[in-house]
Amino acid sequence: MTTLAKHSAPVSPAPDKPKPYGGLRRFGDLKIALLFIAPAMIGFIVFYVVPTIRGVYLSFTEYNILGDPEWVGVDNYTAIAKDPLFWNSLAVTGQYVFLNIVLQTALALGLALLMHQVAKSTIIRGALLMPYLMSNVIAALLWFWMLDYQIGVVNQFIEWAGLPRVAFFGSEEWAIPTQAVINTWRHMGYTALLIFAGLQAIPGHVYEVAKLDGASAFQTFRKITIPLLRPVLVLVLVVTVIGSFQVFDTVAVTTAGGPVNATRVIQYYIYQRAFTESDFGYGSAIAVILFLILALVAFIQMKFLKGNESDLD
């Protein structure tokens, strides 16, 4: 559900409609506004602004919770540059993100097109949305059971098909793809609904014109649907990438970074350094790097895919 909050939506400035008695008071409604905004402002400053600054500061210190943070300059960053576990976590997370983009976007786009063609009922949309409403922990445990090597139902089917059983969580090559499939399962319906909403926003007359011009179904899809859907697709891509980079819950519950280092994703590595090894400075430095990666990814996607412009205008 948290991903709901990550959507960058267009910000329209509030209209300054003059009030019946407006203009007389120099500061407008500043006083009463301060009262209305005070609680939110406290939360904003104490739990968003200060920790952001403190997080950056901590990344330049050595700090194991007990004493005081000790300034060490860029030592943490130079250590990270030489840390094979960090580079491994980056590679593992990258693999996970890539699999999620491909699987999720392709499946969700297909699903959205199907819904647009044959079924628009709320019940069908609701059924597809169900996995998304479940927590990561529940999704993880549910699949941990169904994919169990010994008595999981999926391996039972695999055996009936005459294939060898698969250690989905226990083998190094399968662990990350399995995590990606679980995440795709949870988000597929949600992403499809986002794209579906985008499809419905395309005016019908555009398609009628294409039909009159004798365009084939594939041509219409490639020349009309995809370009007009671009802002939604970019949004979906940004949400998917940013969300997948922060994978933690499913890994923590099922494989805890293993087998060996196969699923030690960035956020799990930060968690381990900060909380298991009480190395807050080092953990914060990796968190800063993750933050920068996410900002860069969002910037590139918005800039080069022009996510905030629609071809409809």
């Binding site: 909050a5 209305f36 905004i37 699903l111 927590s135 549910l142 059971w145 169990d148 993750l290």
Partner: protein, 308 residues
Amino acid sequence: MTTTASRAQLAAATRRRRPFNPRRAAAWALLVLAIAVSVLPFLWVLRTALSTNNALATNAASLLPAELSFGAFKRVFGLQSAADAVAEGGSGAQIDFWLYLRNSIVFSSITTAGAVFFSAMAAYAFARLRWKGRNAVFSLFLGTMLVPPIFTALPNFLLIKNLDLLNTMLGMVLPYIFMTPFAIFFLRQFFLNMSREVEEAAMLDGAKHLRIFFQIVLPNAAAPIATLALLTFIGQWNEYFWPLLVGSQDDVRVLQVGLGVFKSQSPQGAPDWSGLMAATLISALPVLILFAAFGKKIVNSIGFSGIK
């Protein structure tokens, strides 16, 4: 005789209206498959929770519960003696899901109530009041949506620790209770679109902003506020990382964290699958109930949050 005839007519009529179209049929088949993949795992969880562990091993793929039993649910709620629990493949360790359930309800309710109410106040100030720097402050608030939660989680953990609030409900709810950027954004959008006439009339009558907010704006925005509360509650119910960091002790542990603990307690290597699935189902139940009751609200909100 007449019924058969009319049925035949009806069938003919439907056929005429919708000639069999192989592409349509294929589309439906794929859609049904997608729905099955989304929904069937939950039935599988129910089936497993109603089975006994010993029978699960030999009936790995039977559709109905293997040896129907409510033992797993009893075990999860601590109603089964340790000896019985071990005999049925449980760990025998006491796990008090009633406590976790209560904690989850308290945690999600308090954070939802606080975040929605305070965000509504802030949204009113951003949508209706005129003050210098309003749009700049609003942009700053929105900017916090871009900061990854892990980044602020570390310093926030230290803050809660310094305040000596680790393993307290207060420490768990504090970061969420004042606002969420999404809630402010969501409600501001609705307030902007609401008609000003009633408010302006009240203002001419000398009503103050506080009264207008409580007596006019809040009641008129009841529907979007309910939707927001629903989304926030589900999100908070599913929260895992922060409660894991701050609430690791039994008396404040929430269900999602408790589930992880349950999973790691496996006697002699074989996990207590039916117990774990019963616990999973219980953890999912409140969300399932909310979804059954307000599914339409939730489904229709997706279009809004994604693209306005």
